[in-house]
Structure formats: structure tokens, C-alpha cells
């Protein structure tokens, strides 16, 4: 069964498009999106975070939620022009990817897995919005945008770290080890080290301006490759 029916998909696209006018108008889209996610969860009896089809949809939703919270008072500007098309691209990718209906495999039936993936995708959303603020900072030389980027990335880093701890606990119960030498784990470590580097540059060395802003933008590229690229191109314990 597809993630959403065609009519619901079209409605979701239209509602997200409304946010081009005012960002808070994304609320109806997020409400519908949340209802669809919950309905799939009820239908399958599990969190809908398996495979690209479900995770791309969830990432679109979390990016939308983070965008609304962080840009609540924004009018129509570049923030919307970057964020909304990105959400629509993720949704399109979700629809184009094959669905994986049915119950969770037994090894994934644990709260640790659910916490691991939910926090991972919320952190991915924060890293994405951080990159958008980075673009605003570079183009308009906005100090608040740079600060918003820093706050997004700081919160994203904390959630990402916590997600890795939960993932380690899950892996220990499932496979008897909290670490496996696979490309996904190595790239996860790359993301972790990279944002550690960003935070050391920002907080300890006191870097500000384009140098750290660019670091935040490049970090987003690394995150996207870790999420999609590694899963598609390299064999790993986190295959999609």
C-alpha cells in the first residue's frame, strides 16, 4: 500500500506550497502530514521509519516543523524559497521510492531503535535548517542568521549524539556490539567529528563569519550523503 493516496499527496503538496506566502501557513500541511504519519503507524502497528519511502517523508515533515518553529515570524523570503522546495523534493523522493508495508522485522521491534531513528531525523532536520540559515547569512550578511545557524547545529549535534547513544544500546542488545565496522558507522562518525569540529571552531576558537557559516553548509552535504548516499551506494547494517 502506498504511503499516501494520490489525492492526499496532491493536497499535501498544495498545502506546503501555501507556505511560500507566509511560513506559518505551513501548519495545515504539517497537520495533514502528521495525520498521515500517525495513520500509517496505526495501520502497520509500528513507527513509519523504514526505508527511503517512509524516512524521506518523515524528514520532510521534521524539516517543515523545524522551519516553522525557527522562522515563525518570517515573511516571504529566501528562507521559504529554499526550505519549501527542499521539502517538496523530499516528498517527491518519498513517493518515487518503493514502500515497505507490513510489520517491523523482529530485530527492529524495540524502543531503542525508535528513539534512535526519530532523534536522528530530527537532528538531520536541524542540520538542514542550519544550512539554510547559513545561506541567508552569506547572501545578506545577517548576524541573526548566523546565530540561528549556530543554535540549529548545536541542538542538532546534541540530538544526534543522543541518537547515537540510543543506537549503540540497541545494537548491543540486537547484535552483541555497540559498534560495527561498516561504511554507515564510519560516515556517522564523520558527521559527529565534523560537527564537533564546527562547535570547537565556534565556541573555543571564537570563529564567526563566513568560515563557520560555510562549515555549517558543508556539514549538511555530509549529512545528506550519510543518510541517502551511503545507504544507496555502500553495503551497510543500515541499508535502505
Amino acid at each position: 500500500m502506498p504511503f499516501v493516496s494520490l489525492s492526499m499527496t496532491i493536497l499535501l503538496f498544495i498545502l506546503y506550497l501555501l507556505a511560500f506566502y507566509r511560513l506559518w501557513l505551513m501548519l495545515p500541511a504539517l497537520t495533514l502530514h502528521a495525520v498521515l504519519i500517525v495513520s500509517i503507524a496505526i495501520q502497520y502497528g509500528r513507527i513509519p521509519l523504514i526505508g527511503l519511502h517512509e524516512t524521506l517523508g518523515f524528514l520532510a515533515f521534521t524539516i517543515g516543523a523545524v522551519a516553522v518553529i525557527s522562522g515563525w515570524k518570517r515573511k516571504r523570503d529566501l528562507f521559504s524559497y529554499i526550505t519549501i522546495p527542499f521539502i517538496l523534493i523530499l516528498l517527491a523522493g518519498s513517493i518515487a521510492s518503493p514502500a515497505m508495508p507490513g510489520a517491523l522485522p523482529p530485530v527492529l521491534k524495540t524502543l531503542w531503535f525508535e528513539l534512535h531513528v526519530i532523534l536522528s531525523f530530527v537532528s538531520y532536520a536541524l542540520f538542514s535548517i542550519g544550512a539554510v540559515f547559513g545561506v541567508l547569512s552569506l547572501l545578506y550578511n545577517e548576524a541573526p542568521a548566523e546565530n540561528n545557524q549556530y543554535r540549529s547545529l548545536l541542538l542538532g549535534y546534541v540530538l544526534f549524539s543522543t541518537a547515537m547513544v540510543f543506537g549503540g544500546i540497541w545494537a548491543y542488545f540486537a547484535w552483541g556490539t555497540y559498534w560495527l565496522w561498516t561504511p554507515k558507522e564510519l560516515w556517522t562518525t564523520i558527521v559527529w567529528f565534523y560537527y564537533s569540529l564546527y562547535l570547537h571552531a565556534r565556541l573555543v576558537r571564537g570563529w564567526t563569519g563566513p568560515k563557520v557559516v560555510w562549515m555549517g553548509i558543508i556539514g549538511f552535504v555530509i549529512v545528506m550523503f550519510t543518510y541517502v548516499g551511503v545507504g544507496l551506494l555502500m553495503k551497510s547494517s543500515h541499508e535502505f
Binding site: W170, W175, G176, Y178, W181, L186, W187, I190, M234, K235
Partner: protein
Amino acid sequence: MRNFFLSLKTAVWTLVVLLCLFLIGSYMLPMHRTVFGPMNDDLLFHWVKDVASNNVWQTWWFFAALAGLILLTLNTIFCSIQSVRGKWKRSDFLLRISPQVIHVGFLCILLAHLLGAGWGYKISGMMPEGAYAPLPDDLALRLNKIQVQTDELGFMTDWSAEASLYENNHLVKNGTLGPNSPLFYRGTGIYLKSLNFDRGPAALLLIAKDPGAIWALAGGVLFALGSVTLLALKWGTS
């Protein structure tokens, strides 16, 4: 030399080099499966001694990353000591201690990897239902019964196995093994990986003892606590 280990530049450049090495490693792992395949099956030090040291053209990045991690560990220890030894004020106690808690958490995680790489054991194998097998540390395992749950179409939805653990021939623990549900006894975990019915019911089991696991958990908790505290303190600042 002391300044080298204390320098933030050392930390930054070591992290940059580690990023590059892990990137190379992520491409090498799937390209040389015969070399890296056994990496997760045995203790890492055994793999280093038996496989990695004989295939340096493929594993050089791993040894370089190991050297980088040692340098990063020393740098973290030196910087944390330096920071803790500085002048303290009551008002900024949390702000100064939370990054050090994060560092201690990171060091605990590295210590966990070191302990897990060199000590403990990993054994896996197929065990038929009803079989009895000796394990290290004077332990033995009996696999009493394998149970499978199926849906209305006959597809397996869940599975479990009843097992008994003996120490010096005395029963010390009974339990049910299942996915995400190992049986633990004095640091040894018995994991049910999968089932096979080709020659009667049998279970693929992993018996693992990792003395680093508790350090990894402690490190993860410290890292998370320090991070959340730092987040709360830094959230309002630019």
C-alpha cells in the same frame, strides 16, 4: 612538545585528518571484503594481528586512524586537565565543567573500544535444539526449545528460544532468548541471531563478552549529560 598536545590546532587538524581517513575507509571496507569481512566477527586485536597487519595496502587507513585517535585522546586529556586546573568561579562552574564532562564521556567511549578490541570474546555457531555446548569461563549452554510465531499466511513474525546456562555443571540461569533480548550472565551475553530448519530446528547463536560495554554506556550517558547542559547554558548566547 607539551604545547603541541595542548593546542586546539592539534585537535582541529587531527579531526580533519580523521575525517579524511574514515572517508577513505568507508570506500575500502566494501571494496576489500575478504580483508574487512572478518573485522566484526572476532576481537579487533585478533583481526589486526591475523589479517590487517598482512594486508597493509588495504588497511593503512585503519592504522593511520588508530594513530590519529591516540593523538586525539592525548590532546583531549591534556586540554581537559589544563581547563580544570584554571581559575574557577562559582558563577561559571557549569559552563566550565560541562565541556569536560563531554570530554570524559568521549574518553570513556574510546576506552570501551580499547577494552572491547583486546579483551573478552566472540563466538558464534549453529546450535541444534536440545544441544549442550561448553563455553569459556567454565560456562555451558543448553538450548532447550525453539519457538516460532507465524502470521495467518505462515510467515515468521517472531522467534525465541528457551536456554539454560550452567557454571561448573551447576544450573545458574534459565531464560528466553529472542531478537533484541539476549541472556546475560556475569558480563557474557548470549544472542539469538537467526534460526535454521534445514536439519531440524537450530539457532545461530552469538556468545559475546565485551568488558568495554559498560564503559561505552557510561561514556554515552556522560556525553549526553554534558551536551544537554552545555546546550542549556549556551542556547541564549550568540
